[in-house]
Structure formats: C-alpha cells, structure tokens
Amino acid sequence: MSFWRRLICSCRRRSPWLFHMNAGSCNGCDIELVASLTPRYDVEQLGIQLRGSPRHADILCISGPVTHGTAEAIRTVYGQVMAPKAVVAIGSCPASTNAFVGSPSVDGPLNKHIPVDVFIPGCPPRPDAIVRGIAKAVSILAERAERPAADAAAEEGAQ
C-alpha cells in the first residue's frame, strides 16, 4: 500500500464522524449516545463527532426497532452516507426488535434493510458500551478502507 493510502487509513481511524438516526426508538438509547458526548465520557478525545448531515458521516448509528414509517428513510440515509462507511445498531431493538417483537407497526430487525457491522446490545446500553462499539466499528471501517474491492463485493451480496 502506498504511503498516501496508509496515511489516509490511519487518519480515518482517528476521525470517525457519526450520524445518529432514530428508527422508532423510545429515546433511551438516544439519550445514552448523547451521554457519551458529555464530560464524563467525552468521545471527542477519540476524534468522534456527531455531525448534522449523513453526507458528512463515516458511521451511521441507528437506534430503535425499525418501524414501517422509518424503513424507507433508513435505506435512503444509508445511501447518502459516502463510502467507506460502517453501521452501528445501538440497543437491543435494532438487533431483535426487543420488546416490540410481533408488533404490527414494526418492520425489524435492522439487518433486514441494511448491512449492520456492530450490534451494541442493552436496553439501553451504557455509554461505555456504546463507545466500545463505535471503536470496534472504527477498526472495521479502517480494514474496509484497506480493501475497498472486497468490501464492495460483500455489500452487493448483502443486498
């Protein structure tokens, strides 16, 4: 790998930007994600920033069991995040639809709609678990950037 690509990969590891999306969550996980930005956990030390636009993001954080109303929006926003990207599912809801299993208004779990890289279980997960999950997503992101071709093939397969 050339010096230029190595440099960009190492920078990518240190500057993950998040876009947070609520897919019908009860707000519990959303509050815990915001708590990880506050002084006690302060994820900005790791270069993590919560961005306003999905275009700016590297990591898409999704909480909630995916309701019928949000399923289409999730696919749209996933398409708006530019490659290389990773998806983190926050809480038990996107993993298994949790307490909402069997509900007529829920169209989960999340990996039915988009490929998910990291599941962070918990109802809600603690902020340190979220930070750890994001750190894991960052290393997946960096590996993915080193092998863009293999990743594109995997994504085709997932869809």
Partner: protein, 304 residues
C-alpha cells in the same frame, strides 16, 4: 523580483505554507477551549489534520451537468479567495511587488461567504437553502459594521493602502475600526452566538448539508484559512510595527492565538441566537459605530 516576492507571500508567509497549519491550529484551539470550558478533555492536537486527510480519502456524491460542476467548484474557489486575502495581509514590510489595498482585501475576505451562499442554493437541499438564506441575511447585517470599520480606518490614516495602514501610528479612529472588526468576527467565522447559518442539528449542516468527502474537506480548509485571514487582519492592524521582520511575525502569531482563545471562550459561554436578533444586534451596532465615526471624522477634519 516582484513576482517572486508576491509568490512568496501567496505560497509561504503569510500565505498557504503558513496559513494551512495555522488554520488547523486555530480550529484545534477553538475546539479545545470549548471542550475545556465544558470540563472535557477535548480533541487531540492533530485532530483537524486527521479530519482533513480522512475527508480527502472519502467518496463524493455523483454530480452531473454544469450545475454539478459548479457545486464542485465553490469550495475550491473559496480556498482560492481566502488564500488571496491572506497573501495581502501586511504582516511584513513590503519590498515592492503587488500591493493591494484594504478594499481588495475586504472583498476577498467576503468572497468565501458569498460562495457559501451560492453553494447552499446550488446544492438544492432544503436545509442548504435555509442555511444560505440565513448566511445572506447575517452577511448583509455584519458587513454594515465591517465596511464602516474599513471607512474609519481609511479616514484615520487618510489612505486605503495596507502598508500605510499597518505602518501608521494608532489613533482613536483606528481603534474604533479595530473594535468594530472584532465585533464582526464571531458572525464572520460562524461562531456561537452567531452560528446561525450552519446551525448544526437544527438545520442539519446548513449550506454544507449536501457536501461530502474531498469537497467538504476543502470547505473545512477554506474555513481554517478564513480564520487566519480575518484574525490576521485585526492582529496586523492592532500591533505596533517594529520594522524587524521576525519580531513582527512573532507578535502577529501570538496576538492571533490570543484572539482565537477569546473568540472560542465567547463561543463556549453563549448559546445560538435567532437570525432576527442577530440582524437587530448588528443593525444597532452599525448605528452606534456610524454615530461615533461621523463625530470622529468631523473632529479630524476640523483639526486639519
């Protein structure tokens, strides 16, 4: 020789070679001061560099047609205009070459804001359009004060030439001009009481909503250069020039850093105001500056 010295100004000091790391340093100081004010640790020293390099390695959305080409061009033009403004800063005494005046410098400083407005509209995102409309309203209102500041500097020194302005001794009207410029800086740099155009979370990312990857990286770079250019302008006008190049440059850098810390402190201590309060604030400021300026000018003329 003239071409060489102009090129050196554009590319080395106070141009790109100095200003890009300085812009990153300023962005880091701003984020660090805000973090410390909130009792957080804050980002590591190299963070703006990491962010920039990462953005350079990311994909950009497909843009088609001439409109798409323009959308791509705005951030680049913005970097170019900021670099041009930087090269005009009268930090070092000039030895011939191209000498611009204050009007050209203010024009170049204002161009990135103009490009941001056009970029927001041409990205055709709803949030981009709201952000651009806000930026346009804010830019018109703070520019009243900013241009008034330029007029007061010109009247105080009897010249718009940057070298004359930098070398001349300070006078009360000049300090009025500098104070008015400082008043405009938070709005010019989109800092907290006036972070209205790219109000994060509120209107997603304002004019930058549709920008990604390298294009967004160029916007961030242009923003860093804007920091250096506009703070540098105030620092240039406020420092006494000794004539020794190294001392001048050092005082310039120290004063700039001090200004960044103050602006970041203000950003940490305040919350975002609405666009009408911001416009009203700058309207009243413009009226106040105008009254003092008219009185001061009359005094200067009568003494002559």
């Amino acid at each position: 020789m003239n071409v060489l010295s102009a090129l050196a100004r554009l590319l080395i000091f106070p141009g790109l070679l100095f200003a890009i790391p300085a812009g990153w340093l300023f962005l880091w100081i701003e984020r660090k001061v805000v973090a410390r004010a909130q009792r957080r640790v804050g980002p590591p020293f190299m963070q703006p560099f990491f962010d920039f390099m990462k953005l350079m390695g990311k994909e950009t959305p497909l843009r088609q047609g001439p409109g798409g080409q323009f959308v791509k061009a705005w951030p680049l033009l913005s970097v170019a205009a900021s670099a041009g403004a930087l090269s005009l800063l009268p930090v070092l005494p000039r030895s011939g070459g191209f000498t611009g005046d204050l009007v050209l410098l203010l024009g170049l400083l204002e161009l990135p804001s103009f490009f941001l407005i056009v970029a927001g509209f041409s990205s055709r995102s709803l949030f981009g359009e709201i952000g651009s409309a806000r930026e346009a309203a804010l830019s018109i209102s703070y520019n009243l004060v900013f241009l008034m500041a330029a007029v007061s500097l010109g009247v105080a020194q009897g010249s718009f030439q940057l070298d004359d302005l930098a070398q001349a001794p300070a006078s009360p009207l000049r300090w009025l001009g500098i104070a008015a410029m400082v008043l405009c800086l938070p709005a010019k740099l989109h800092l907290n009481p006036f972070s209205i155009p790219d109000a994060e979370q509120e209107i997603y990312a304002g004019p930058m909503t549709e920008y990604a990857g390298a294009e967004l990286g160029l916007w961030e770079l242009a923003h860093g250069l804007e920091w250096v250019a506009s703070i540098g302008l105030v620092a240039c006008l406020a420092i006494p020039h000794t004539g020794i190049a190294v001392a001048d440059a050092l005082v310039f850098v120290v004063l700039s850093i001090l200004a960044v810390v103050l602006l970041a402190g203000l950003a940490a201590a305040t919350a975002r105001v609405t666009i009408d309060s911001a416009v009203r604030f700058y309207g009243w400021s413009a009226a106040a500056v105008a009254v003092v300026l008219a009185a001061g000018t009359l005094l200067v003329r009568l003494r002559l």
